[in-house]
Amino acid sequence: MRTRLHVNGEAREVEHEPQETLLSLLRYRLGLTGSKEGCGEGECGACTVFVDGAPVVSCLVLAAQCEGAQVTTIEGLGRGHPDGLHPVQRAFIETGAVQCGFCIPGIIMAAADAIEREPDADRESLRRLVAGNLCRCTGYTKILDAIELARARARSGGPPCSTK
């Protein structure tokens, strides 16, 4: 079957099997391998992308259900930001929030949404907003530090975070 959608701002028309997931479409059909498959069951969040502005686990979304959707992946998150880095991405680099890095694209997507959705969230609420993403290396501590840093900068008049 054929699905038309926008991926990172570009119109795409993709031929695929009905049972293919959005993750599979992104990784295999479009070569966007930044979104990772950690479990295939929506439990780890490594495949998080935005569909029509909201983060979803792309391993549990059928590609066919994305007809006409606007999809943003980790590869497109930094578009329009200085040096191609979304403030959350920049903060992750600076605070050392990355270790093996496998879970990071998914967490960054969830975090980018979190600081926009709840700009005044305290640390506890931020934890809730990234609770759908598992990480086995970092202890989350610096991940939360990074999100807070990015949010603080956005508040103090930094570049806007929205990329959706």
Binding site: G42, P55, V57, L62, A131, G132
Partner: protein, 320 residues
Amino acid sequence: MRSFAYLRAESFPAASAALETPESLPKAAGTDLLDLLKERVVEPAALVDLSRIERAQSDPGVLSALATLAELAEDEGIRRDFPALHAAARQAATPQIRNRGTLGGNLCQVSRCPYLRRAGASCFKRDGSPCGALLPGGFDRTHAIFDVGPCACAHPSSLAPALIALGARVRLVRGEERRVLALEELYAPPAPGRLGDVALRPGELVEAVLLEASPRSRNSVYLEMRERESFDFALVSVAAAVELREGRVRSVRVACGAVAPRPRRMREVEAALRGRPLDAESIAGAADAARVAARPLRSNGFKATILHRLCVRALEELRQ
């Protein structure tokens, strides 16, 4: 996943008609269904996508079955008039899944029982074979403590107990036919071939949930105990709604999740409270009543203890 045909339905009647064909399944977000498809626990020949169905303009008492958990959690009216529903929706799953998962899907989801969700394992509901949890050496820690018959599944929905406590009804649709049931009547006892425990007729779908705001619904609460806050299903959940008049319980509804094969209306708890002042004594009595009918399995007796204590906490919150 087995290959299937994909059909996009534009309306409930159309979806319903498409589902009359054998081996077809409905899919809204399908966050639960996709797991089962990948595991080949279900192998439909066709999927009928409900997600594009135009939602009727809802009045405040009618929740579309296609509303996402995130929408329910963020709705100010729900927060004000149905706090139990707000709490259940807010705690369900993960942010990503709440953005996709629907009200209807949450109500019709399949138990987390590991025997049910594993092709090839022994499971009463899948094919009538003995329940794996009840066999010698079986894992029954997370299973039911009430109403265990040939199947020990615990019902996973968190929205269902909240909505039952709120007195919700469901509107079902099949072709042009519609019928309305009390939500607790949607659920049927475990039977082979009926994975989701819902008594829907072939082609029938949940279209909407009907709620009425009342003093009781505004004084409602939902509490759950789970092992991992970040993402987990409840081991025990309790929802209660109480209307007090002149210091006494005028009307009350209590329901529990994850403790029985179906979401369980706790009539014995309601009876212990009705007409009495809502105080420490009546609450203790009601919580005791909650576990009278409990018959825990080998390793889940602690769920009865937790149920007791959650009942106390829930009712304490409603004392005002």
